[in-house]
Subunit: 198 residues, 2 copies
Amino acid sequence: MYLAHSMTKLIDELSKLPTIGPKTAQRLAFYILKASQEDVRRLAEVILEVKEKIKNCSICYNITEDDPCSICQDIKRNKKIICVVQQASDIIALEKTKEYKGTYHVLGGAISPLDGITPEHLRIKELLKRIADNQIEEIIIATNPNVEGEATAIYLTKLIKPLGLKLTRIAYGIPVGGDLEYADEVTLAKALEGRIQL
Amino acid sequence: MYLAHSMTKLIDELSKLPTIGPKTAQRLAFYILKASQEDVRRLAEVILEVKEKIKNCSICYNITEDDPCSICQDIKRNKKIICVVQQASDIIALEKTKEYKGTYHVLGGAISPLDGITPEHLRIKELLKRIADNQIEEIIIATNPNVEGEATAIYLTKLIKPLGLKLTRIAYGIPVGGDLEYADEVTLAKALEGRIQL
């Protein structure tokens, strides 16, 4: 044992975080060791605070300190449009575009039988209740463009289509700034399929 | 503001850590939010504990909870040999080789006039005192192979050479598993210069 016990423990705990390998964990641990007492105390505090204060919005299940969340409370938001996402972090990505003025609904994952996630594990009942109670005009499905996200989109389509409201899915295609040559064939096929008239 | 305040604060604090960009900070923050109360409490605890318990060994300045550190306390270590390194983290790298059975001395950096680090900022006086007090037989310089590390090695050589003990530097050369074709010319020149007889 050539490394102090509390350092080993810190490196172990940091290694459990996603994207943090043992080398990075070691580097972070040495940084924390050298940082000022105050900086370190603040880091530990915010880590605990987040667990304490953050809850889910009772309307859209976004993460929030106040219930309902700031988006659901915002009177400038169009409450007749709901964008359905898998995770609260997807809302951040969509909000960054500054394009969307409707509300959200966080499913809490995607259908994935291999991981034991069935529709019952997702907040689909809650979505259907929102639709029934609020004269919703449009549902935009923004699940991830992978097998699980697709399965979830298909499942939602089957449930929502018969309700007679507008149902859309965000477009698949080649990313802006991307290069046709390097696009994979599935994306390219989707881009062709989703072509718009000029 | 579409993100809860305590989440924003956590992402800000995590972004201050080395190698953690804003995207990774966000990912880590969401991971922490989802982790169990117990895991999060333990992470916060070890972060604080490390600042509290870790100090420098009064002999070699390695980081340690007990003074002297486990290496300086180890009776199987050869106390007549000192390997001089810049940082305590360098000791971890050298110990992993399991090849070295002497002791260490942590300088606490390297000479770098541009950053305002002069020899007085490093633990050089302490090294000279160790040499004077302990009949040291060999000093191995293991500063980093860059301008600052080299300058420090040259400075130490000037001070220690006249003392008449064995003074060595770890070898520069092409890394094991490396490819001659891709080695830079400085490394290759060092590898030629440091060639050994077969």
